[in-house]
Structure formats: C-alpha cells, structure tokens
Symmetry: C2
Subunit: 398 residues, 2 copies
C-alpha cells in the first residue's frame, strides 16, 4: 500500500480556527486553560491582545456581597488577569481544595466562556465553564477507571400529563450482564433544572459509579425525571426546540408533578429490572425537588422507605393549589405511622431556606417523626447537593 | 395551607446574572438571540455598550476564501452588527433555508459564544452556537411530537484494546415494550469526533425518530462507538478527565480500531435484542469513519450487507501500518464475491477528498463491485453528513 501524507478538515469551523491561529504567535498556538498544577493551584489563560481588561469570575474566589431581590447575598468573586507582551492574559489561583469549580471570563465588561475549554454547564440561559481538582472529594466527581454504569435518556408516557416525557436513568455496572433486580432511587432536580441536571451539575453518575466500586453504596438504579410539567424534556431536547431558558417555569410547583409521579414509577417498574417494593424505593431532591420529594413521599405515604430533602424549598407557595398540598399534617402522620427506614434532611447554614427547614423540623419533632439531620456550612449551591448525595446514597437499601 | 410568596435562588451563578441584569436597561432584561422570524430571517443580538465592534461569524453568510495548509478553502462569512443607543448590537439575516446553522460572535476581535443561548456544540476545543430553522429539511433535525427512541451511553469491555470503552446506542421507539429483535446500523464519526458526535452534530436521534415515525425507515438500533483507540470515552467522559481536545488523536487510523471492531459488535449482540445476521447489519461512517467503514467491511467481508461511505477519507496514510490495511484489492474482491445489498458512496463536489473518492470508485468499477453513488454540492461539512444519513437510513434492511 502506498504511503502518502493525508490531512482532514472537519467542517468550516475548523477553518475558522486555523484563521485565528494564523494571528497567534507560535508559542500561543496551544493555550492550555485552565491548567491544574500538581500543587492544586490553577492557571487561567485568555488570549486578547487588544483588550483593556480581562477578569476571572469564579466560585473559589473570595465572594462579594451582592444586593439582590432576596437581600444581600454572596456572589462569586472576581479577579484581574495580567497581560504579557504577546497579549496573553494569565492568573494563577492559590492552592484549591479538591472540588468541582465554575468560572467565566469577563473581557472589557463582557462575560465570555473560556475559548480553550469546551467543558461548560448550562446555568439558566448561558454556559459556565467547569473544572475538577482531584486528590480528595473531587475524586468522587471524576470518571475513574472503575466499572461504569449506563446512562439512558428514555421517554415515558405520562397519562396524567398527556405527553411523552424524557427521563434520565442510571443503571449500575453489571446491570446488562445480570438477571438481578435492583432497588431504585428517584432523584429530583431544583427550579431551573431538568432531567439532565443531576447527571451534569450533580455528577450523580460519577458519584454512584465511585461509591458502588468502593463498596460504599449498594448497586442501585437512579431515576432522574423532569420536574417541570410544562416541558416534555429539558431545554433543547423536547418538542419546543431551542428556546431561551428561564429560571422557574410555570406550574412546576402547583401539585401536578407530584400528583402524576406514579406515571414515572410505573414506567420504571415496567421497563427496568427493579425490586418494586417500598423497602427498595428511595426518593430525594434538591430545593424545588426537595419540596416535590416531601410532598410525593407523604401523598403516597406507603411507597418510599427512604426520603432525602437536600436544601428543600419547604415553603408554601401562592400557586400551590393542587390537591396534593391538602392535609399536610395528617398525611405526614400517616407516613410516620406506616413506618420508613430513613427521613434525611440536609441544609447549609447560609441557605435562604434555612429557617423554613428549621420550621419544618419543628413540625416533625412535634409529631414525633424521626429524621436524620445534616447541617453544613454555605448556602444554596450545587457543591452541597453533590456532598449530600454522596452522604445519602450509602445509607440506602441496607 | 397558608399562602406566601416564595423565591428560590439556585447557586451563586444565578446571582451573577442578577448583578449583570442590574446594569441592563429594563427593555433589555430578556434579550432573545437568535430570534427566528416567521419569514425565516433570523435576528442576532448582543449587549455590549462598551464594545467598538461586534461581528457575527456564521455558516449561512457568504463564505470567505481562506488560506490554510490545505490550500485555499471556504471559511464561514462574517458580518458587522449595528449598535443602538442602549449598547445593544443587532443583525438580521436574509431569509434562510430550513437547516441547522452554526455561529459565534466576535467582540472587539475576540470570539465569544452567544450569552443568550446555551445551545452549543463542541468543535475541537471550543463551543459553537447552533440553531435550527424548520419548515423543510430542518424538520428532520427537530424533536417532533412523535414516539421517541431511547439514547443510551453504555460501556463495553474491549478485550483487544484492554479497556472499558464508552458507546452511544439508539434504540427505536417501542424497543422497551416489545420482545422483537432489531437490525443494527453501526455509525462511525470522523477525526475530531467521538461517540457523541452523531447524536450531537449529526442529529442522528432526531433523524431516526422522524424517519421511523413517518414509515420511511425501518425501526433499527444505531450504535455510535468511539473511533479513537487512545480514548476510553469522548472528551470529558473518560478516565482522562477534562483535558484540551485536539483535532486528530494518535493511533486513530493505524488499524487498531478496525482490528478490534468485533468487540463492539459482540457487546451489542449480547446486550441488545438484535437480529445478529449479515442482512441485519449495516455500517457507515463520515470522513475518518468512512475510512474505518471501508476497511472494517472488507476486513470482515461477510459481516455487513449495507455499507455507507460519507465523504470518506479513502486515502492511504503513513501510519496505516496495521494488518487490516494489507491486501486491499483481494479483500474487496472477497467482499464483492460474498455479496451484499448496498454499497453507498456519497461526497460533495468541493470536498478535498473528492479526487480520492473518484480514484476509489475507479478501483471498484475495475473489479465490478457495484455501488450507489450520490454526489452533492459543497464540501466536508456536517450539513452533508446529516443529509447522507437521512438518505441512507431508509434504504436499510429492506
């Protein structure tokens, strides 16, 4: 066979990149950003010879106090990058703890993603870059060289909501090769989220793979549905096409989701090899998903043996008019009397929902419903929800 | 139940957005970009009061001639946006054909994603925004209100490559509810791609859902493996973490992938309900994946009844030293003599691989191996690979 050199161009956008590359000095052709060093400092780089200022906004920088409609809250900090003679701007962080971090650049006042990293997650309508530092808690969020579970994006028919709805399902390593039946954790997202939030921001796949590989959690199926009843699927995956995401969709907390939750359970129990009993069903959720979890678990009060409320939005709402929300105290008492294995409540001290959780725990104390309580620092952030999941999952199905 | 108003903040990044919002005049609080109008013109908007220039780079603009190491090629065109008194820059396109389009902004010389759209695909190391115009061919790329197949990201053990490797699998609507067995299309990506390319850039899920719903294609399983033997998974999904993507990975075209392809077929035929016969196996690929397809289909010359080469990189390479590449003519003749249902070759007239495909067809003509040939306009772009898939899939398993 003759030997030639051969080149490939993939698409017009690669050509754009060549074009840009021609303007860049040789030593800048392969800019690495972010670069994580062995000492867990991180260097950020941005090539912008004509810019007057390049800043980094990141959740590991000292937070700034921000006036918002919720009062004064912590916002991510900002720091200036320094420009060299070639127009390359750089900043190196102090040593960072092992964690998943988020950042963006601000170039002459305009928020910009890192052009040298495609790793970004959606936050409302825009994308935010992410990176992970290992050697500690962050190892749980990395895809390690262990046996991997399978991630499935399927669709179930919701008879109640009268539509096919997208649902994300994790089956643990070995599921395909075995004939065993598995317990199921239903894991619910918060406002602004969808069926991809726990696998994206939440790193639920990596957390479960790693916990199961270490023998710390039982092999389980994890079902991540979409809690917004006006959507058939998360932004970009449904029949409404590519439209601008908004924070809180209408009807997400009016009872329709909770009242139709059994459509999801029935689909899962028909489609997957599951142990379809109360002691093999768990449900947990963050923020709005914690609100959903509390209501679903007491509205179907003999269905779930494990309940997890992560920074739960346990506050009554004006639009909470559905029949699901009636008789809160009575149904909680039925749930208590029916018995369960674990009622888990976790929240950060700085969460704006902290007091709502204090009030809810008082109610549970008053009726003698026993729960496990985890109080951490910090507020209403994904970092905590990953930590709560990694703490909660090992307690299930024991 | 008492009724309060209640607010939720999800994470520090939402607060950033509030902060930015405070600087924005009221009428600019919900910028829509891109906005697709009924007449199929599209308005792009970018808020940048301090910028001196904002440009749009897009694949629907008149292309510019670009000097690259492949000679003079077409690059995406660029156009200036106009600034209003509030600092909002806008541009409205002419009427566009129904299609999936890509674009980015360039703000004072810096390439920037659209901050008002999270819909972006990875191209090498960076992200490029996308949108779809329906009412024509683009309808095939939209998630329509039809029965949906399931998308699965699983892992197979490659004994030959000695690692667990990620693979993306589409099962058609109804798969979970039936006991039927299905035929399988193996669909291979090009250089710079991975196991997510066909479901992301290629819209393969939507194309198959829509073709099957319309009765134009038979229900089939589509298997989208990773063709880079140095990776266990695409960028960000494997054991190497988040690292900077490069265009062509080493060892992707040295024969190792083709020689170990049966590890994938065996996994699929063990894991899914498939018809495991030659007449129920198809293989197709774009560019490097077309090169893989040609070699796999003749190296295992009695395995696939349907073969599709989309803009195939049918050019010998210096690193193509594997045993797979020996005896090309002899094994093609064996493949021909064994018989097959369809050998499909498609390419654009402006493709830099056009002449290589002319030469390959001459070889096939010389040996009397009959193929179906589709020649289109344009070059080496995803638009054509989506069109070729939508043309090829209906011909399978008839």
């Amino acid at each position: 066979m003759k030997k030639y050199f051969f080149f490939i161009v993939v698409g017009a956008f690669f050509v754009t990149q060549l074009l840009v590359a021609q303007e860049v000095p040789k030593e800048l052709e392969n800019i690495i950003s972010p670069e994580i060093h062995a000492d867990q400092t991180v260097t950020f780089r941005f090539f912008a010879p004509k810019a007057d200022s390049v800043q980094l906004t990141a959740d590991f920088l000292p937070p700034v106090k921000v006036m918002s409609r919720f009062g004064i809250v912590d916002g991510p900090g900002t720091v200036n990058l320094m420009k060299d003679k070639n127009g390359l701007w750089t900043y190196t962080s102090k040593t960072l703890d092992s964690e998943l971090y988020s950042y963006t650049f601000v170039v002459d006042g305009i928020k910009t993603n890192d052009p040298n990293s495609p790793y970004a997650l959606r936050n409302s309508a825009s994308l935010t870059n992410v990176f992970i530092i290992g050697n500690g808690r962050g190892d749980f969020y990395l895809t390690k060289d262990v046996a991997h579970g399978t991630l499935t994006h399927g669709w179930y028919l919701s008879a109640g909501l009268k539509m096919n709805r997208r649902v994300t399902v994790y089956t643990p390593a070995g599921y395909e090769q075995s004939t065993e039946k598995y317990p199921v954790l239903y894991l619910l997202h918060g406002a602004g989220g969808d069926e991809d939030s726990w696998s994206a921001h939440g790193r639920a796949i990596q957390i479960l793979d790693n916990l199961i590989a270490q023998g710390k959690a039982k092999p389980m199926i994890v079902v991540m549905p979409n809690g917004n009843v006006v959507q058939d699927a998360g932004y970009g995956f449904g029949r409404d096409g590519f439209y601008k995401p908004q924070f809180l969709l209408p009807r997400s907390m009016n009872g329709e989701y909770e009242a139709n939750f059994m459509d999801i359970v029935n689909y899962v129990e028909k489609t997957y090899r599951v142990k379809a009993t109360k002691e093999n069903r768990a449900i947990a959720g963050l923020s709005m998903g914690g609100f959903h979890t509390m209501h679903i678990s007491r509205f179907y009060p003999n269905t779930f043996d494990y309940v997890g409320l992560f920074s739960a939005a346990l506050v009554p709402r004006e639009d909470a008019t559905g029949k699901v929300y009636r008789n809160l105290d009575e149904t909680l008492k039925v749930q208590k009397d029916n018995g369960f294995k674990l009622y888990y409540i976790a929240i950060g001290k700085d969460d704006f929902l902290y007091q709502a959780n204090v009030d809810f725990r008082k109610k549970l104390d008053g009726m003698g419903l026993k729960y496990e309580y985890v109080e951490t620092g910090e507020g209403h952030i994904w970092k905590l929800w990953r930590i709560y999941l990694a703490d909660f999952a090992p307690k299930l199905f024991r």
